[in-house]
Structures are given as C-alpha cells and as structure tokens.
C-alpha cells in the first residue's frame, strides 16, 4: 500500500483530495499544518507528499527545507499543489525542482482531481 501524506490547510478541500486518493487505493494521512506534517511523517514514513505552500504560521518552503533536512525523507517524491501561481516562482524554479526535490508543481485552481491523481500516479504508481 502506498502511503500519501497530504498537507492541506483547508478542511473541505482536504476532504475532497483525501476521498479521491483513497478511492483509487492510496493510504492517505491528511494534516493541516507543517508541524503536524513533520509529526505524521515521523510516525509513518510517507511514500510521497502532496503539499500546499500557504500554511498557517509557516511558509511551505520553510517546511520543505526542514522536511528535506532529514536523511530518511530526502528521496520522498513531493508534489506541490498550491494556490501560489507558478509565475510567482519563476526565478526560483531551480530551487524548487532541484534543491528541494519537487516532482511536480500544480497550480491548485487549475488542477482537476483527475490531473492530481495522474500526477500522483506518475510519481508513485499504486501497486
């Protein structure tokens, strides 16, 4: 079973993504904050992470740096699924994709469930 850690602060959206991922066979842990994500990953190492960059109290980038600082989590595939348009990261794309090991960057308002599921499947196919 593939374990997906979903970091999504909006409870209603989290419920939608949780349901969709679960329906296609992923085991999902949904958390709203960076701190809860670190605790959840510590408890059960995820096979992949889907995360929003706009979190309460933290920038998602701070979370990414912290997450990648642990040896165990450096190779975990990561999808950024966010309200922040990619154009706002135009100058920092290298940082996101290479230094922080982002597999895919999805702009949330333009990302259907099918597109998200396809990106997740592309990163870690369901067994």
């Amino acid at each position: 079973m593939i374990h997906v850690l979903l970091v999504e602060p909006d409870l209603l959206l989290a419920r939608n993504y949780y349901d969709a991922l679960k329906t296609v066979g992923y085991v999902v842990t949904a958390v709203p904050s960076a701190q809860a994500a670190i605790l959840a990953a510590d408890e059960a190492k995820p096979d992949m992470v889907i995360m929003e960059l706009q979190l309460v109290g933290h920038s998602g980038i701070e979370f990414l740096y912290e997450f990648r600082s642990y040896a165990d989590w450096q190779s975990v595939p990561l999808i950024i699924h966010t309200h922040v348009p990619p154009s706002e990261f135009a100058g920092a794309r290298e940082l996101l994709m290479k230094e922080l090991g982002t597999h895919t960057y999805l702009y949330k308002p333009h990302t259907s469930l099918r597109k998200l599921l396809s990106a997740v499947h592309d990163a870690v196919p369901v067994e």
Partner: protein
Amino acid sequence: MATVPIREIAPPPVLTQHLLLSVVEQMKLPLMSIARRAEFGGLPGGHTDLSEIRVTADAAVQLLDNYILGVQLASQEASLMQTEPVAISSVLHNAGQRLQPIAKSYGVELDMHIDGKYGPVMAHRRGLEAAIVSLGYALVEALPAQDAPQLKLHLSAHRCRYGIVAGIYCDTEQITTDALRVGRQLYGRARQPVINVSHTSGAGIFVADAILHAMQSQLTTSRYRRLYGLGAVLPLNPQLQLV
C-alpha cells in the same frame, strides 16, 4: 490654485482594489471546493455530497453580500446611514444562525454566550451582523488550518474601556493586535496577510474591518475569559442605557 481637501481625494478603505483582490482570492477556495466535490462524484467509486456543496456556496455568497454591503455603506454619506437601537444579543444570535451550517461543515462548534445584559446600542443592524458573520467565516475556516486542539468558536459580548465589544473568540493565541495591524498593512499585497491566523487572504476579517469602518465603529482584537478574538467596538449610548 485652490487646495483640495485630502478627504475628497483619498477613497475610503472599503473601495480600494486591495479589498476586492482579497475577496476575489478568497472566493477561489469555496469555488474549488465545489468543483472538486462535484468532480469526485464523476470518478469511479466517488459520490457528490450536494448538501456540502450548497453550504459552501451559501457561505461564499454571504461573504460576497457582506462585501457589497461594506462598499454600499462606505459610499453613502454618514448622515444617510440608518442607525437604530440594536440589541447585541439579537445580532450575535442571528450571526450564529447564519454561521452554523458552514461551521458544521468545517467541524467547528459554535458556542453563544448571549444573555442580553448590555441593553441596546446605536448601530447599523445589517452592517453589524454582516461584520460578525464575515469574521466568523474567516475564523471557521482558519481554526482547523491552525491545527487548533479545540475547534470551538464563542460568540460573545463584553464591556471594554470604549464601550462594548461584540465578537468571536477562540482558544488560540495567534489573534493579536500585532497580527491585525500587520494584516491591515499587507492585505491585497500579500497572499496571507494574517499568516499566523489564516492560510487564506483573510478576506472575512478585512470585509468586517471595512464594514465597521464605514459604520464609524472599529474592528479590534480582544481577550475575554482567557480566549482570543476579534470584535466590533460599540460605544455605549447613555440615553439608551436608560431604556
């Protein structure tokens, strides 16, 4: 050359593009939630919860209505604004009723401490109710995102130095005067102007701020019974206190 008074040039805060941007950005959340929920119904094994879609849409429409009311109040002459004696308990009760469905969707419990002990104040009833509902919407959405141990909001009123504060309180320390001050400076410019409180543009807070400003009232942070909150400052009217 005649000098033009500054007040005629500077638009009132509610008419700025920043508030509009904040509201527009905020609207993406319920719209996305509705779109994804509807799409889930079309996936194999998926289903669509129509009642959740309705509640999400209703709450979004309420925020839009409140924004429009704020703009209308701000663009009226102060003398045209119809204030009336308003029972705070009744306003809080109505606001609570309006917030109940969306609070339930977010798993947030609403608790009302309303006992009518403060008597009436002079206010614009619709404006005050809209401001409380907007604040409530912002906090209902923000509380689960804060990973707060207790998903509970309290609608309440209490006395302060300047009159009565009617507002919404919770058990998280993030709602501070500094957070509100910085938020007012950043809204419309930053994606998360009140980053320690909300993951969104915080439009509900700024719509309430605009409405209250237009009503010659004020949005303030407030502490009450070890809870932290946001509320409207309503000056006491000595004559009404005799009623």
